[in-house]
Amino acid sequence: MKVMVPVKRVVDYNVKVRVKSDGTGVETANVKMSMNPFDEIGIEEALRLKEAGSATEVIAVSCGPAACQETLRTALALGADRAILVQTDVELQPLAVAKLLKALVDKEQPKMAIVGKQAIDDDCNQTGQMLSALLGWSQATFASKVKVDGDKLTVTREVDGGLETINITLPAVITTDLRLNEPRYVTLPNIMKAKKKPLETLTPEALGVDVTPRLITLKVAEPPTRKAGIKVPDVKALVDKLKNEAKVIS
């Protein structure tokens, strides 16, 4: 079984983003970019499936500008077998990404796609579910444990009240939650090896996918800032403030 893992290039989670002064977006020039952390978890899960003999090949794919090659090289260094970049400078929205991924699935015929539950930049939490719907596949979102038994998968999901376990059949889309695994680190020798692994570049046109954005961003603004409060010397002062100033307890 081939496994496809989409990997998105995002602003690193340690960066505190700044809104551009003209309100068109956030500052991404000269900002550290990394693989979306949920996609590192996706790659790790696919590699473990391969190491356990359930998967035969791990294909990393990314959609976006040429710079996404870096993200794909990271995926290859982690252990993915090959990579595909769908290159475009158009602003990609989740529906467009899902359609591109569907076209790649049609071409490559994997039986499983492991997608991040959300990208930490746009926080959409859509792409995997959309891909699953477009393919008519089974879906298991927010996975914290995946067990493969032939064509049957048992997936434990992180839901609002706790955990939920479902059975699904392949082909399927799984979206990763934080506790699915702890991704391995990239090592220097593997970075060198990754340079020799195949990285194919395609375009949305070649895949026959219209990626025109559906949503128009009218403006991007700073959220209202909270003003820092005060430090109180002891619990007596705290309780007094909570009762008499903030009036949140009685």
Binding site: V26, T141, G161, L163, T169, P223, I230, K231
Partner: protein, 312 residues
């Protein structure tokens, strides 16, 4: 045209977040119709019909809707909405809503607007991006707008006072693509995290699952829900569903205690809209103090018991 709200429920009761979503739907200027799909969920339909602003409830009662599995349900909603009578389809940004809504959008070939916190007009919405460090105003020109609603952005519609009618509709087919094996829900007598007026959260500073219990008397005293940072969850001190933050639960209680939590942006994203924030941390430089209304610098194992005593 009407607005369709997909109810989140457990076949017994409507989840609180659904009333926030109904409130958002009411801002769109069309009739609000609520879909209750489940099994043996007549009572849920009745309570949805009583929510202020609801004109009609569609009740689809069938065993294969019992567990809220997304594949069959999304197909069913697409069937309902295919005729074009709904201009908007809304779901709560809960684990359930997030699993179903994007499938519906994709099958209708429209975009989804995720986790809106405000309705500017029927086609323009505000949503936080980058862990709430920027607010994007987005416009959708799609014929049907599929939206998930962040509960903290809208005050819940009143549970009573509505005069909606309940109409039964025939269920769609069972896709058979997934099946529930079981649930391991966290048992607690405390209020639900996303609905609580007061939340007491602990972080890595708690040190262990055992030591985390030092927060319990404080939560008891305040009738609070308990939450945690990702670090505390990852370390196994508390269950996964306690995680507050960008990739956990988004909360906005009246009063939030952050105890032994440093204040990483991912954590702040989940709680900085709380009305009053109290931080207890031994590091006076901890970033949590930059959003806290009241901070105490000190050892939590000393401060928390003292606080419980002071509360009487």
């Amino acid at each position: 045209m009407s607005t369709l709200v997909i109810a989140d429920h457990d076949n017994q009761a409507l989840k609180g977040a659904t009333r926030n979503t109904i409130a958002a739907a009411s801002r769109l200027g069309s009739d609000v119709v609520v879909l209750v799909a489940g099994s043996g969920c007549q009572a849920v339909a009745q309570s949805a019909a009583a929510v202020a602003g609801v004109s009609k409830v569609l009740l689809a009662d069938s065993p294969h809707y019992k567990d809220g599995l997304p594949e069959s349900l999304a197909d069913f909603v697409v069937g309902l909405a295919g005729g074009g009578q709904y201009g908007h389809i809304l779901a709560s940004a809960t684990a359930f809503g997030k699993s179903v809504a994007p499938r519906i959008a994709a099958l209708l070939d429209v975009a989804q607007v995720s986790e809106i916190i405000s309705v500017e007009s029927p086609d323009t919405f505000v949503r936080p991006i980058y862990a709430g460090n920027a607010f994007a105003t987005v416009q959708s020109k799609d014929r049907i707008k599929v939206i998930t609603v962040r509960a903290t952005g809208f005050d819940a519609a009143a549970a009573n006072g509505g005069t909606g009618i309940v109409e039964s509709v025939a269920a769609g087919p069972d896709s058979g693509k997934s099946a529930l094996v079981g649930r391991e829900l966290t048992k607690s007598d405390r209020p639900e995290l996303t609905a609580a007026k007061v939340i007491v959260s602990g972080g890595r500073g708690m040190g262990s699952a055992e030591a985390f219990k030092v927060l319990e008397p404080l939560a008891d005293k305040l009738g609070a829900a308990m939450g945690a940072s990702r670090a505390a969850v990852d370390a196994g001190y508390v269950p996964n569903d306690w995680q507050v933050g960008q990739t956990g639960k988004i909360v906005a209680p009246e009063l939030y205690f952050a105890v032994g939590i440093s204040g990483a942006i991912q954590h702040l994203a989940g709680m900085k809209d709380s009305r009053v924030i109290v931080a207890i941390n031994k590091d006076e430089e901890a970033p949590i103090f930059s959003v806290a209304d009241y901070g105490i610098v000190g050892d939590l194992f000393q401060v928390v018991p003292e606080l419980v005593k002071e509360l009487g």
